[in-house]
């Protein structure tokens, strides 16, 4: 296991370094950030002067060397647009994205019992209704649902604020609900479908008949034996979803004014703000790798036959 972990870590470092190099060149190919800092009427002399001020007039390989050396030292430089250290911007938003992701993930987890309920009587009325429901919620576009939730829950019924952010403390909980609800249907639907499908698959296996023949109750069979064996697929899916949330939910964050990584990343890409893009991608890549590693470890706990050598 230890060797496996060391190997994974080595791979991760290699992947991140490669990713950063790719990022640097692709952003530089895509356009000049200085053009986006100034009004379009300014003269070419002004543009040239600003390019020199920020060092964009240096050869690409020199800039790449500086960029890489700074990144290795954990310094992502100062945001071209905000003039604030990129690391500070990203770490300021990371907890917000994580909280929104976790709340959404928690709501989405409700899909597991729903899927289990459907699996109890395949092709029964409940199963069919849950099928319709899960397909319907997966098909609802985030942005449309977000706007509908605002109009119904905030404007019509005044149950929650339309949007905004009020910290992650006790005062802020009601601001996270609408964005989380808007994000959760797809997760909920997918969880329900995967749980249902894997459980139905497991229910047809011999060990279930054996358990039933031993006289175990249906609930024990389902929750103690079947669910544990079905859990590998569910954990894989949920790990994937959680990793996805760490990227930030760009559209939802934008609509609700939630200060997360997704919106920051999109704004930075639009403005060719390389330091911020790099910092966001770096942090997100680390998170995704950490989540994948945790998922791998959970596999070994769920199924002792799995071992990493």
């Amino acid at each position: 296991m230890r060797n496996y972990m060391i190997r994974r870590l080595g791979h991760s470092i290699f992947i991140i370094l490669g990713l950063m190099a790719l990022l640097f060149f692709s952003i530089n190919v895509l356009g000049d950030p200085v053009e986006l800092l100034v009004e379009d009427e300014v003269s070419q002399e002004v543009i040239d002067a600003i390019r020199a001020k920020y060092g964009f007039d240096r050869p690409l390989h020199v800039r790449f060397g500086d960029f890489y050396w700074n990144m290795v030292r954990g310094d992502f430089d100062v945001s071209i647009r905000h003039k604030i250290p990129a690391r500070e911007l990203v770490f300021g938003r990371l907890p917000n994205t994580a909280v929104l992701g976790l709340v959404t993930w928690a709501i989405g987890s409700l899909g597991i019992p729903i899927g289990m309920l459907a699996a109890r009587r395949p092709r029964g009325l409940v199963d069919r209704l849950i099928n319709i429901f899960s397909f319907a919620v997966i098909s609802v576009p985030d942005f449309w649902l977000a706007l509908m939730l605002i109009l119904i829950l905030a404007v019509e019924f005044h149950l929650l604020p339309t949007s905004g952010f009020n910290g992650l403390g006790p005062e802020g909980w009601k601001y996270v609900l609408l964005p989380a609800i808007a994000l959760s249907p797809r997760v909920l639907g997918r969880n329900a479908q995967i749980t249902r499908a894997t459980m139905i698959d497991e229910l047809g296996k011999g060990y279930v008949s054996t358990a039933r023949a031993k006289g175990l109750g249906e609930t024990t069979v389902l929750y103690t034996h079947v669910l544990k064996n079905a859990a590998i697929s569910i954990v894989t899916l949920m790990g994937d979803e959680l990793a996805g949330f760490m990227n930030g939910a760009t559209i939802t964050e934008t609509i609700f004014g939630w200060p997360g990584l997704g919106k920051l990343l999109i704004d930075s890409i639009n403005n060719r703000d390389l330091p911020v893009i790099t910092a966001v991608v770096f942090v997100v890549a680390l998170m995704v790798m950490a989540i994948n590693l945790i998922v791998d470890l959970i596999y070994t706990w769920l199924d002792p036959r799995i071992s990493y050598k």
């Binding site: 895509l30 356009g31 000049d32 053009e35 986006l36 800092l37 100034v38 009004e39 379009d40 009427e41 300014v42 003269s43 070419q44 002399e45 002004v46 543009i47 040239d48 002067a49 600003i50 020199a52 001020k53 100062v78 647009r81 905000h82 003039k83 604030i84 250290p85 911007l89 300021g92 938003r93 009325l125 069919r128 209704l129 319709i132 319907a136 706007l147 509908m148 605002i150 109009l151 119904i152 905030a154 404007v155 019509e156 005044h158 604020p161 339309t162 949007s163 905004g164 952010f165 934008t254 609509i255 609700f256 004014g257 200060p259 919106k263 920051l264 704004d267 639009n270 403005n271 060719r272």
Partner: protein
């Protein structure tokens, strides 16, 4: 089989009911009773007009506000709240680093025939020479951090704004400025790089910050704070979340409406990209003032007003390099091919009128003749194309960027269709990326001097091919271009000038005429000179304008505020009625 078909019917019924509920909610749910719509006005109330220049040095009595805090919402988030940071642009979302906290040299009083008035830092001005203006500063004014306001501080601000490497928005309006000269403690001379007869009018973006603080602050600190002497000061800035302001207790108001004491003690500025969300925030009482909700959302808020943005939504034609757009008759044909009013009526339900000039109504030089909308006449258009010898091999494309203007994409799609209808080969290029759109917008002659030195200061750009692989003709590109100083000088310099990157007009005769017109002192003669420039732009069809851009602002029931002619918001002009 029977039960299965019953189940299918049940499924269909459930689906149908769900669909009906969703449609009902989506289409009918939020419609509030008809809102008390305020008149769409930006200029009015001559009764409240303030005197033009000299400010009274007394402190006006502060009115009490019914509520402590107003929340204002804009679409975008400012990249910075530092007034001199590149992230602070001349757009509505930059109110936090501009109009709330800064008092500029001057302001244009749209309540009084667009007179130029001084804000709180100045007492008077006088032109000493064609390129020199003397300003008397107002004693007793202090920056938000307590530093004194004097001629040295004013010079620091003028010089900072004038340095091209600082990317100040101010310089694109004032033109080149030499280092300011201190005459005495409260007197300063501004020296222009060329005759500047309307310098005070161009000073509406020239702002000041406390010099000692600014010089000592790190770049990050300068980005997070503005220490100016405007009616509000920043008390809390959290990127991505909000900026909070409090009324500056030591603000010295003058008699001008725009330099009055702040009435509302605190203002919070937040950002929401969706117009529906901004409107919802006013409807629920979470916000008191929201920008740019469009006519579609206007009925959902307690009150709304609309106002111009000093911008004209227009097509800029590449008359320099495009083989067909070089021909005046082709350009005229393109203008006559578009049913502008019919198009706007269908998109804005008759609320927006077509406009035929590149500058908004009220600009020095605008007349009914040079702002008249071209008649929609496809037959005439076809005839003009024939007379011009238009070759359909030469496509005349339209470059646009989605979201650059409300309904912009629809207008441009329709334009391409109109042109095709009269036989023009045309495609719509929609640049989703701002950087790519900028490439197109800034490929005028002024861009090439670095690539080919022979271009620099030569006025023969249209006589030769542009250099190398960097060039692409901009064909026709759409832009909402603003002229907040309301003087044609702005576009003489930027849109009809061989040396500018944004210009698609380069003519030796016009270059000279523009230079001469820009040097004419304010008054009837200047009006005539600018009129002549605008007449040429109209006759030559350098641009195909569509409309004066309007913003719709949503207001809470008790918010008292009238829109300015430009998208700017002075916090001290807002109040609550109850």
């Amino acid at each position: 089989m029977k039960s299965s078909s019953k189940l299918r019917i049940t499924q269909w019924m459930i689906g149908l009911v769900a669909l009906v509920i969703l449609v009902t909610v989506a289409c009918g749910g939020a419609a509030a009773p008809a809102a008390p719509v305020a008149p769409a006005a930006t200029k009015a109330s001559a009764a409240a007009a303030a005197p033009a220049a000299t400010a009274a040095p007394q402190v006006m009595e502060k009115a009490k506000s019914a509520r402590d805090t107003a929340t204002v919402v804009t679409e975008a988030e400012p990249a910075s709240v530092g007034a001199w940071s590149e992230g602070c642009s001349a757009e509505i979302h930059s109110i936090g680093c501009q109009d709330f906290v800064s008092d500029y040299i001057t302001w244009i009083d749209d309540r009084n025939d667009f007179e130029v008035v001084l804000l709180s830092g100045f007492e008077s001005y006088e032109q000493m020479a064609p390129d020199r203006w003397r300003f008397k500063l107002r004693p007793g004014v202090k920056f938000h951090n307590g530093e004194p306001w004097n001629a040295e501080a004013a010079k620091f601000g003028i010089d900072y704004n004038a340095d091209p490497t600082n990317a100040s928005a101010s310089i694109t309006w004032t033109g080149p400025i030499k280092p300011a000269e201190v005459v005495d403690e409260f007197t300063m001379d501004v020296v222009c790089g060329a005759p500047c007869p309307i310098y005070p009018r161009t000073g509406i973006f020239t702002d000041f910050q406390a010099p000692k603080w600014f010089q000592a602050a790190s770049e990050a600190d300068r980005s997070r704070m503005t220490n100016a002497f405007g009616p509000y000061r920043i008390i809390d800035y959290q990127p991505g979340i909000h900026t909070k302001f409090e009324a500056y207790p030591d603000y010295l108001p003058n008699e001008n409406f725009f330099s009055q004491a702040a009435v509302i003690p605190f203002i919070t500025h937040v950002y929401r990209s969706e117009a529906t969300v901004r409107a919802a925030m006013v409807a629920t009482g979470e916000a008191d003032w929201v920008a740019d909700i469009g006519f579609e959302e206007a009925e959902k808020v307690p009150k709304w007003v609309s106002g111009t943005t000093a911008e004209v939504y227009t097509l800029i034609l590449d008359t320099v390099f495009h083989p067909e757009l070089k021909k005046q008759k082709v350009r005229l044909a393109l203008a006559h091919a578009i049913d502008c009013q019919g198009l706007l009526d269908s998109l804005f339900q008759g609320r927006i009128k077509c406009w035929g000039a590149i500058s908004m109504e009220g600009t020095v030089g605008i007349t009914p003749e040079n702002s008249a909308v071209r008649e929609y006449n496809p037959e005439l258009s076809r005839q003009l194309l024939k007379e011009a010898g238009y070759d359909p091999v030469n496509s005349i494309d339209v470059n646009t960027r989605p979201g650059s203007n409300i309904r912009g994409l629809e207008i441009m799609e329709a334009t391409v269709t109109y042109w095709r209808d009269v036989g023009v080969t045309s495609e719509l290029n929609s640049w989703g990326d701002l950087a790519k759109a900028r490439e197109v917008q800034t490929s005028g002659c002024g861009r090439f001097y670095k690539l080919d030195e022979t271009f620099k200061d030569k006025l023969d750009c249209d006589q030769r091919d542009p250099p190398g692989p960097y060039f692409t003709s901009s064909h026709a590109y759409e832009v909402a271009t603003s002229n907040e100083i309301l003087d044609q000088q702005r576009f003489n310099n930027s849109r009809m000038n061989c040396s500018n990157r944004s210009s698609r007009v380069c003519r030796r005769d016009l270059q000279e005429q523009a230079k001469a017109a820009n040097a004419v002192p304010a008054g009837p003669e200047r009006r005539k000179a600018m009129e002549a420039m605008l007449d040429i732009a109209y006759e030559e069809v350098f641009f195909i304008p569509f409309m004066q851009v309007e913003y719709v602002y949503g207001l809470s029931e008790d918010m008292e505020w009238q829109p300015y002619y430009a998208p700017r918001l002075r916090g001290n002009t807002m109040s609550f009625t109850k």
